[in-house]
C-alpha cells in the first residue's frame, strides 16, 4: 500500500523531474576555456545559451585546463589553438561519430560526466560560430560580433516534456497499480484469508467495496503524489488545479476499473501480474503514454481515443500543454466516467463472485 501510494509515485516523480525538470538539485558545472579572449568567451556564452547552473571560467593555459579537469576542479574544458584559425579549422569542433576533430579546438572532458563534455563541446561550437561570424583570430574578438544573431524564446524543452510525461506516466501507473491491487486480492483468495472474511458476519458487498475502494484510493493517491511532487519540486505545469483534480478522479476510476476487470480474468496471481504489465505496456503504446500521439500516424492517433489512457492524456494535455481552462476537460472526464462505469461494473461482478457464496 505504502509502496504503491507513496514510494513508487515518488520514485516516478523523481525520475521524471531529474530527467526533464528544472528544479533538480544538481551542482554548478564549470567549463574552463583557454586561448580565447574574455570578449569572445562572453559572446560564445551568449550564443550558446547555457542553463544558469553552467559557469565558464578562463584559464591561463592548456596545461592548467587539462590539470583542473583531471583533478575535478573543472567539469570540462575547451582549448582554443591560436595557431589554427582558418575557417576549415573551426567548422567541426564537435566530436560527432565519424567526424574529424577540429585542429582549432580541443575539448577536454571526464569519462564520468557526459553532460559536462557535451557542454564543453557546445561552448566550443559557440566559440567557433563567433570566430566564423566575425572572421577574427581567437585572441582579438571584441564584444561586438560582426553579425548579430537574433534568437527567439525557444522555451525549456525539458519542461514541456515533463509537463506531458508526468501525467502520462502517472496515468499508466494507475492501470498497473490497480492490476497489482487485484493481484493482492487473488493472493488473499489463495491464502484463505478472503474465505475467512467471507465467513464473518459482514455483507459480501462490504468486502468487495473495501477491496475496490482500497485500489481506488491507492490509485488516486499515487496520481496526486506525482502531481504534487512534479509540480512543487520540479516545476511541472499540470494546469488549473480544478481541471487536474477532475482528470485525476476520472482517470483513476477508468484506469482502475479496466485494470481490476482485466486482471480479474486471470486464473491466478501470476497471470494477473502478467496481464497488468503486458496490457499496461500495450495501452501505454496505443494511448500515447510512451510516444506522444502527435508523433504517430493519424490512424494511431484515432486509435488512442479507444483507450482510457488516451482520453486521460487528451484532458491532461489540454490543461498542461495548451493551457486550456478547467471546463475544457469535462468532455474527456465524461468519457472516462463512461469507461469506468462499463469496466468497473464488470470488475465489480467479477470480484463479487470471488467473495459471495
Amino acid at each position: 500500500m505504502v509502496i504503491t501510494c507513496i514510494v513508487a509515485p515518488l520514485a516516478l516523480s523523481a525520475i521524471l523531474g531529474f530527467a526533464f525538470g528544472n528544479g533538480g538539485p544538481s551542482g554548478t558545472v564549470t567549463i574552463g576555456v583557454t586561448g580565447a579572449s574574455p570578449a569572445l568567451v562572453r559572446a560564445a556564452e551568449q550564443a550558446t545559451q547555457f542553463p544558469p547552473d553552467v559557469a565558464i571560467r578562463i584559464v591561463p593555459d592548456a596545461v592548467g585546463v587539462r590539470g583542473e579537469v583531471a583533478n575535478g576542479t573543472l567539469s570540462g574544458g575547451v582549448i582554443v589553438s591560436r595557431s589554427h584559425h582558418m575557417l576549415s579549422d573551426l567548422l567541426v569542433p564537435i566530436a560527432a561519430p565519424g567526424a574529424q576533430h577540429s585542429p582549432g579546438f580541443a575539448v577536454i572532458g571526464r569519462p564520468d560526466s557526459i553532460v559536462a563534455r557535451e557542454l564543453a563541446e557546445s561552448l566550443a561550437a559557440g566559440l567557433a560560430s563567433r570566430l566564423y561570424a566575425g572572421r577574427v583570430t581567437p585572441g582579438s574578438a571584441t564584444d561586438r560580433a560582426a553579425i548579430t544573431i537574433t534568437t527567439g524564446d525557444l522555451g525549456n524543452g525539458g519542461q514541456r516534456v515533463l509537463n506531458y510525461f508526468a501525467p502520462s506516466i502517472a496515468v499508466i501507473f494507475l492501470f498497473i497499480g490497480s492490476g497489482l491491487g487485484m493481484r493482492s486480492l487473488m493472493l488473499e483468495r489463495s491464502a484463505g484469508t478472503l474465505v475467512r472474511m467471507a465467513a464473518a458476519p459482514i455483507r459480501p458487498i462490504r468486502i468487495v467495496a473495501g477491496k475496490l475502494g482500497a485500489i481506488l484510493i491507492t490509485g488516486l493517491t499515487s496520481i496526486l503524489v506525482v502531481w504534487g511532487v512534479t509540480s512543487s519540486i520540479f516545476g511541472a505545469r499540470w494546469g488549473p488545479p480544478a481541471g487536474v483534480l477532475l482528470m485525476a478522479v476520472g482517470s483513476t476510476l477508468a484506469m482502475c476499473g479496466l485494470g481490476v476487470f482485466l486482471t480479474s480474468l486471470a486464473r491466478n496471481e501470476r497471470e494477473a501480474f502478467g496481464i497488468a504489465l503486458i496490457v499496461g505496456l500495450f495501452l501505454s503504446l496505443l494511448g500515447g503514454n510512451l510516444l506522444p500521439p502527435g508523433s504517430l500516424p493519424p490512424f494511431f492517433q484515432t486509435l488512442s481515443l479507444g483507450t482510457p489512457n488516451g482520453w486521460a492524456l487528451v484532458g491532461f494535455g489540454r490543461l498542461s500543454l495548451l493551457g486550456d481552462p478547467a471546463p475544457s476537460v469535462i468532455g474527456p472526464f465524461l468519457v472516462l466516467c463512461l469507461i469506468a462505469v462499463a469496466t468497473g461494473g464488470m470488475a465489480l461482478a467479477r470480484v463479487r463472485r470471488m467473495v459471495e457464496p
Binding site: A191, A200, P201, P357
Partner: protein
C-alpha cells in the same frame, strides 16, 4: 453433485464428527454450514437463524483446513483484524485476543510474525482466529492434517476442553473416536450412517478378529480345529496364519491356545482386533477410510 441429501444436527455443547475420506464432501458440507456455499436445495439453521445470514455467521467460528492468516502479521495483529470483522473493539477485543492466545498456548509468541511459526503453531493460531468471538458453534475442517504428533495432541486437547458445539471433520478415525460424541460417516457426498462411536461400531463394526500365526505346514490342521470351537464364526487364511471371526475375541483366546497345544502347533503370534470406525467405514462403503 458434491453432496446429496446430507442431514444432521449438532446439539448444544456436542462435538459432532464428520468422518470420511478425502473428496467425500466434508469441506463442501461445512462450507454450506458457514455460509460460504449456497445449497441448491435444503436448508441450514444455526442457533435458530438461517445459514448464511449475518446472525448465523456471527454464531459460527470457522477454522479452515489451510492456514487463513496473514503470514506477515503477528498473531496479535491477525486476531485484531479478524476480531474487528466480528464487531469486537477496544478493550473487549484485546481481552479476547489475550484469552484466546492463552487457550491455544501462543501467548509468548503473540507478537511474532505468523510466517515464523512452526506448522503446528500456525494451526493453533488458525484455531484461535475461529474462537476469538466466542462462537456458539466451532467448525473445524481437518485441523490436524500435516501437523506433528505433539501439536496434534495439543489441538485435540484444546478442542476437547472448549465445551461449545463443535463440528469436526477428519479422516482420522482415532480423532473422531476420541473427540466426538456423535459421528456422521460421509462418502461420495452422502451421509451413510450416524450415531455415537459405540453405536456405529456395534451396528456396523462386525465381529472381533483374532489373528494367529504359526508355521505354514500346520495351517490345515489349525483351520479344521478352530472351525469347530464354540464362539468362532468364521475362519479364513491370513498371511502367515489364520484370521478368526468371533463375538468376543478375548474370551476365546484361552481355548485357542489350548487347542493349538493339543494339536502340537506352536503359535508364533496372537493378535486380537476389536471392531473400530475403520471397520465401520469398510462395512458401509466397501473401501478403506484413507482411500
Amino acid at each position: 453433485m458434491a453432496v446429496d441429501n446430507v442431514s444432521f444436527s449438532v446439539a448444544e455443547g456436542e462435538c459432532y464428527g464428520l468422518l470420511g475420506p478425502n473428496g467425500a464432501g466434508k469441506t463442501t458440507t461445512i462450507s454450506m454450514v458457514c455460509g460460504l456455499l449456497r445449497a441448491d436445495s435444503g436448508e441450514v439453521t444455526i442457533d435458530g437463524h438461517p445459514g448464511g445470514s449475518l446472525e448465523a455467521k456471527a454464531a459460527v467460528g470457522y477454522v479452515p483446513q489451510d492456514l487463513a492468516l496473514y503470514p506477515d502479521l503477528s498473531a496479535h495483529e491477525n486476531l485484531h483484524f479478524f476480531g474487528q470483522l466480528y464487531g469486537l473493539r477496544g478493550s473487549a477485543l484485546e481481552a479476547r485476543i489475550e484469552d484466546t492466545l492463552a487457550l491455544v498456548g501462543l501467548s509468548d509468541r503473540a507478537d511474532d510474525r505468523i510466517g515464523t511459526y512452526s506448522g503446528g503453531m500456525k494451526r493453533r493460531a488458525n484455531i484461535a482466529a475461529g474462537l476469538l468471538h466466542e462462537p456458539r458453534l466451532l467448525v473445524l475442517d481437518e485441523p490436524t492434517v500435516g501437523v506433528d504428533t505433539q501439536s496434534r495432541h495439543a489441538i485435540l486437547e484444546t478442542v476437547a476442553g472448549l465445551g461449545i458445539s463443535v463440528l469436526y471433520t477428519t479422516h482420522y478415525m482415532e480423532e473422531a473416536t476420541k473427540l466426538c460424541q456423535r459421528i456422521g460417516i460421509i462418502d461420495d457426498g452422502r451421509l451413510v450412517a450416524e450415531g455415537t462411536p459405540r453405536h456405529l461400531i456395534d451396528e456396523f463394526g462386525g465381529a472381533d478378529r483374532v489373528r494367529l500365526t504359526f508355521r505354514q505346514a500346520e495351517t490345515a490342521v489349525m483351520e479344521l480345529a478352530c472351525g469347530q470351537l464354540p464362539g468362532v464364526q468364521e475362519v479364513r487364511p491370513f498371511e502367515g496364519g489364520l484370521e478368526l471371526g468371533t463375538d468376543h475375541g478375548a474370551g476365546v483366546l484361552p481355548t485357542l491356545v489350548q487347542t493349538a497345544g493339543q494339536h502340537g502347533v506352536e503359535l508364533t503370534g496372537v493378535e486380537v482386533l476389536m471392531p473400530d470406525l475403520e471397520g465401520v467405514f469398510l462395512t458401509l462403503t466397501g473401501k478403506e477410510l484413507r482411500d
